[in-house]
Subunit: 352 residues, 2 copies
């Protein structure tokens, strides 16, 4: 399969979408992208399994990283792509082959960008974290990801979304004493005791801190509760799984400490934690990006792969032509005008 | 298999235990009991599948019912029975072949009891209610169960336990609005809302009413709680299953109404309800029974089959030689002295 990078980003998106690349099956698309970027003499290309890094080396003062994942969620009878009234339908149109098309167009169109550019195309973003190609690259070749700002071209509806919040999950455990429910006063009901944990959650005031000029919004919520042994038994355990979404002014360790303090009266077991990412919008390179893209940047509240750049010390933002509400849906689509607009704005940033 | 009713109750218990009769497999034991009671000319015998009713018809002013189930839980490598230091070990020794042995001895020993006696031997008490032999008899031949007092010879440790409490289970449902946990304020967390239900449970003051001279002790408890959709979703539903154990001064319908009122703010769905049984200890026939047995009667807090007599309008008590703590255990056993004592006291009640 041959990718024609002379096609504008909207048309190129359709070509990318039609090369199926469900997580784990990215090889044909990675091969096609590799062949296309290897034909561009101003880029040096590195391949790591189905991830690719293509870089200019012009000795510019600044280097920016443009990253996108090339995998999709499973196809939902929505391939091949088709166009209806200037909208492209198909698996991966929004999330995020339109963003990848913009990356490839910039790689092909701008042999002399005003900043050195590192293009990252990676695999397995839509599956469990351990398989993530960007994580693998950050372990195998962190030097290839270096830069002053990273732009993750995930769908944001054409708005700059800075950084991201971290997320952790913890099990908070209420203990009791088992007894027959016919003589409940001989036991201690752990489900009733869990009511005290819910009191804490109901009273919790989530912070809305400003970080690098963007306002984040934390949240602490029960996402699971389970307890009970039998219909005639006073249960001796009730476990509430809480999810803490925390702003990037807290590290992962600080967020864990906060949760420990909030639930100091109970046993707390962390099941997963990933830190967030500062947006870095106070840096000049980021300011120039915001100016080129226009609009008012907002904080990214969900967790995204920008956090992997943050872990390498690189401020990062999310910006892409897709619509995040349409990701993973059978009727996933993208406005062709939005793709063209994104291509034009990114081109302006890297050339003027 | 031939049952020798000239054996005293302790020895007869061992014979009964050694005729295996796990629920559903009671036929050999029912056949043996039927043959034995049909040899007693003062009794008229009625068989319904593996349940038997054997009655005197002496025209006495009073009629009492002595009932016991002949099935056991599955054998736990604890058959045949064996005796160690005046204790009989084996499946069903406590629950409740020692009680059945006393019934059979009374049937054989007392052709002219001071009250007409109805002996009931029934199947499938240890399994789901719909298979219960006493329930089947109460539907097919309620007239055969008539009487002024019923004594269920379940293990009570030799103490009269009057009546029983009823029990119901209900699902109390908290509703919310689903949202991504990264933007939790767009949803309503049903698990947090369930905290209000737990507030009600924690504040609930259980009644301890006196009924026919015995003090019952109610209880309202969560026995299950479940909620949660995914680790990143604010859940829109949380369900608490509550178990209400209610004294026999409330009917099943009154108990349901009470639960509806307690949880008036939420959707309540009843999953099962069975009424309790009044002990009837204020009636002369019951008073004579208590005098004959001795000790201080206490209220039965768990639910037992005495409630089936209550449903027929017959006050009922629990009294038997077994130890309720040993029921269903691999090391189930019964004191042979306790069996002999029970036999003697019951004989005294029916003859003096």
């Amino acid at each position: 399969m041959d990718l024609d990078l002379s096609l504008a980003a909207p048309d190129l998106t359709a070509r990318l979408v039609d090369i199926e690349s469900v997580s784990g099956g990215e090889r044909p698309l990675a091969d096609a992208i590799e062949a296309a970027v290897r034909r561009l003499p101003h880029l040096s290309v590195h391949r790591d399994d189905n991830a690719l890094v293509a870089r200019t080396s012009l000795g510019r003062d600044q280097r920016v990283v443009l990253a996108g994942h090339i995998d999709t969620v499973p196809v939902a009878a929505n391939l091949p792509s088709h166009v209806e009234r200037d909208v492209l339908y198909g698996c991966g149109t929004s999330d995020m082959k339109s963003g990848v098309a913009v990356q490839l167009r910039l790689a092909a169109l701008i042999p002399q960008p005003n900043r050195d550019v590192t293009f990252v195309f990676y695999d397995s973003e839509e599956v469990e974290s351990e398989r993530n190609g960007l994580l693998r690259l950050s372990r195998n070749s962190p030097e290839l990801l270096a830069g002053g700002l990273a732009v993750l071209m995930e769908p944001t509806g054409g708005v700059v979304e800075g950084g991201c919040q971290g997320t952790l999950r913890a099990e908070v455990r209420a203990r009791g004493k088992r007894a027959h429910s016919g003589r409940s006063w001989l036991g201690v009901n752990a489900i009733h005791e869990a009511g005290r944990i819910l009191d804490v959650l109901r009273a919790y005031q989530a912070a809305e801190p400003s970080v690098d000029g963007l306002t984040y919004h934390e949240g602490l919520n029960a996402v699971y509760i389970r307890g009970g042994i039998a219909g005639n038994v006073i249960p001796d355990e009730c476990v509430i799984t809480v999810n803490f979404r925390f702003a990037p002014d807290r590290s992962a360790a600080q967020a864990q400490q906060h949760v420990r303090e909030v639930f100091a009266a109970w046993e707390v077991t962390f099941t997963d934690v990933v830190g967030g990412a500062r947006p870095g919008l106070t840096e000049p390179v980021a300011a120039s990006f915001v100016t080129a893209i226009g609009g008012t940047p907002r904080a990214k509240l969900g967790w995204t792969d920008v956090a992997r750049f943050a872990a390498l010390g690189i401020p990062a933002v999310n910006y892409g032509p897709g619509d995040p509400q349409l990701a993973h849906r059978a009727d996933e689509h993208v406005s062709l005008a939005a793709v063209a607009d994104c291509e034009a704005r990114m081109q302006a940033w890297l050339t003027t």
